[in-house]
Symmetry: C2
Subunit: 414 residues, 2 copies
């Protein structure tokens, strides 16, 4: 396949598998300016799938940076006029939502972390119906990446810009199984492999997972009663299957928010809204972060932890083998969408309604009662290493190997 054919195939995959557009539906695309040629292809594919209308909300790292540099914290804590109206109206009418990312990891380096934090807080408050429609499965949504010059230069710092962009595109295509034959069929096979692993995990019904490696991670994370694992896509409220993240290699659930004990050491840097955090660790007691440190970006971590009352509790634990295609590429993408699929990870903040039976019918209090954390924050960080061991603890005290040396233990089919 030529580059142009792969790009079109990727747009088709995003529209058909990512957001599963149905005839008559509206589509909202969120995208950075430098991805415009790809956005136009996605719009064409969306109309070809029967979309009624396609609306694009553009962003630009340089303009965002200028905004943060020249406006005070109060102004940063306001949504731009009309943004919430657009997002909420489209989500309430059931629009499919495609988020395209291409972020320069250093875009906000040196910006006072309080400013983007204030913005994200305002965004979540004013666009609450928009975010709720995605979390609850009322609409199909998907997050995908597209190569832009600044991001490409960060991933391939030694290469000239054009070459770096071309290399990043090829890496992206590989992560989403575009380039050899029918990508939609490849994703159907991918889905079936997930279903087997999830069936095994659900059958084990572990009450906790114990993580250990030489980097210093030694933590036991409790799981909610009758925990449900997910991965490889999800069904929206109307039954349509869609992949909310592309790529996705993780099998995941939410831990019991009050039962994490021990220390976890990050195995990769964290890029949070354009700010980098390196060499960091968290210590948990009764589920809560009681200590933390970082060689770089400690204040960024503090900002996340203090964002709301429950930002210090875990919302996600995800299992990704060291043999995943993304892990084997050995690239640091500086973007959680990719990097989380190269490594086992946790997330601080909000948990998933899918982690307990009937979770999507529960309100915030109901979910909290089941141990599913509730927060405006959801920040992934990586802990997987090639020597990571994960042991499942059963209700009767039996201990079952889940991961050995960074990969699925023998006997876990996929």
């Amino acid at each position: 396949m030529t580059f142009e054919e792969k790009l079109r195939e990727y747009a088709r995959l995003a529209v058909r598998a990512g957001i599963a557009v149905r005839p008559g539906q509206e589509v909202l695309i969120l995208a950075p300016l430098e991805t415009a040629p790809f956005v136009r292809l996605c719009a064409r594919e969306a109309y070809a799938a029967g979309a009624k209308d396609v609306v694009v909300e553009w962003s630009d790292d340089e303009l965002t940076r200028l905004h943060y540099d020249h406006t005070d914290a109060e102004a940063c804590g306001r949504c731009p006029d009309g943004l919430a109206q657009r997002r909420n109206a489209l989500a309430e009418r059931g629009a499919a939502i495609l988020s395209i990312r291409s972020q320069d990891p250093a875009a906000l380096a040196g910006v006072d972390a309080a400013k983007p934090a204030a913005y994200i807080k305002a965004l979540h408050a004013e666009c609450a119906p928009f975010y709720k429609a995605q979390r609850s499965g009322a609409v199909c949504w998907s997050i995908i990446g597209a190569a832009g010059p600044a991001w490409a230069k960060a991933v391939f710092p030694g290469l000239p810009e054009d070459e770096a962009v071309a290399r990043l595109w090829e890496a992206i295509f590989k992560t989403v199984r575009v380039g050899e034959g029918d990508a939609l069929a490849a994703w159907q096979a991918h889905r079936r492999s997930f279903e087997k692993r999830i069936a095994w995990l659900n059958a084990q019904n572990f009450t906790a997972l114990h993580y250990q490696n030489a980097l210093g991670t030694d933590i036991t994370v409790g799981l909610p009663e009758n925990v449900r694992w997910a991965g490889g896509g999800s069904a929206a409220a109307d039954g349509r299957w869609h992949f909310a993240n592309m790529p996705t290699e993780e099998v995941f659930t939410s831990p019991d928010r009050l039962r994490a004990e021990g220390t976890v050491v990050a195995s990769m840097p964290l890029n949070y809204s354009g700010s980098l955090v390196r060499d960091f660790r968290f210590t948990f007691h009764e589920g809560r972060v009681v200590d933390f440190d970082a060689k770089e970006g400690r204040e960024v971590l503090r900002g996340i932890l203090d964002e709301d009352d429950n930002a210090r509790y875990l919302g996600e634990c995800a299992l990704v083998p060291a043999t995943s295609p993304i892990s084997e590429m050995g690239l640091l993408f500086y973007d959680t969408l990719y990097d989380e699929n190269a490594s086992c990870h946790f997330a601080l903040g909000r948990g998933f309604v899918s982690a307990v039976e009937g979770g999507s019918q529960l309100d915030e209090q109901g979910l909290l009662a089941k141990g599913i954390n509730q927060s405006d924050v959801h920040v992934d960080f990586m802990l997987g290493t090639k020597d990571l061991a994960i042991t499942g603890v059963c209700a009767d005290g039996r201990r079952v190997p889940v991961f050995v040396n960074g990969n699925w233990a023998e006997g876990v089919e996929g």
Copy 2:
């Protein structure tokens, strides 16, 4: 000056002379995607001038075209969610508004003219406070151009894309006096030249103008009582001087809407929202278009004329000498912003509050009573030729030459 220096100087000119940004003010920039590098320079200059915040509303010809091709007329007659909220809120807080254009003249070729017409109608209805703030001088606003590939290829059809874009940028710089010394100073001198011609026209106090040329134009256009001429910029409500169009070479006013008699033959094609009209003419009786024809795009003209009750009456007559820099370049820009400054022109639709003393204090009925047309439409078309004669008619019947052979008559200082 290098290209980059000229581009920065142009951005500075747009911000300081076009929208006259004052410290603490918000700025709204409307721009096509392909002008992003220039938009970022404008944002930098706006912050440098003390802007409190800069918001950009992006557009894209290809996505607009896809929208019109795939959505029905009903959907086309709706503003995108949030757009009116953004525009109206910013205008009501006194934001400066910079519109950057770079339109492919063939972008909408073949699109059912009813669709863009329905959209423009919805836009004017829902964004009424936004448009009113500009018309009334409550905010400073400016319309400028920026070279993009599609537009450049239309202006220079024989050249490779890169070269066409470079040539169009140089042409734009020339029209806005950027490239030799301090462009802001050049615009101050330009303003003084306008003031002399306007003083002469106001002193004559013509009751009508008679236009004649060999192309077939023979029309007399009445002027309102104590007509006021304008040009070369205007003062906003707070006294700040700004140039609403850059370039601008025209001295203009509004005719008495009920006193046009005769036929006017267009001397250049009209590009209306991406549709081209060629070789067209209008015949007026008692101010109203009673007959019209076009070799190409007749239905586009009909759409304009039928848009509302007063779209068939004139709102503007503007005087531009054949020796204007833009006229002498001999380029057809396919954009009214430039082409209207190469040629004497009229506009159908809305007239100017500046055409009569105290006009900005009058409501629609008051303006209509003074002969100033009121409409949602304002569409310029060119009639200037190298043999155009314009004769002023005084209250006492005296006839005074205003234009001879396409240029200001001898004795009109500038």
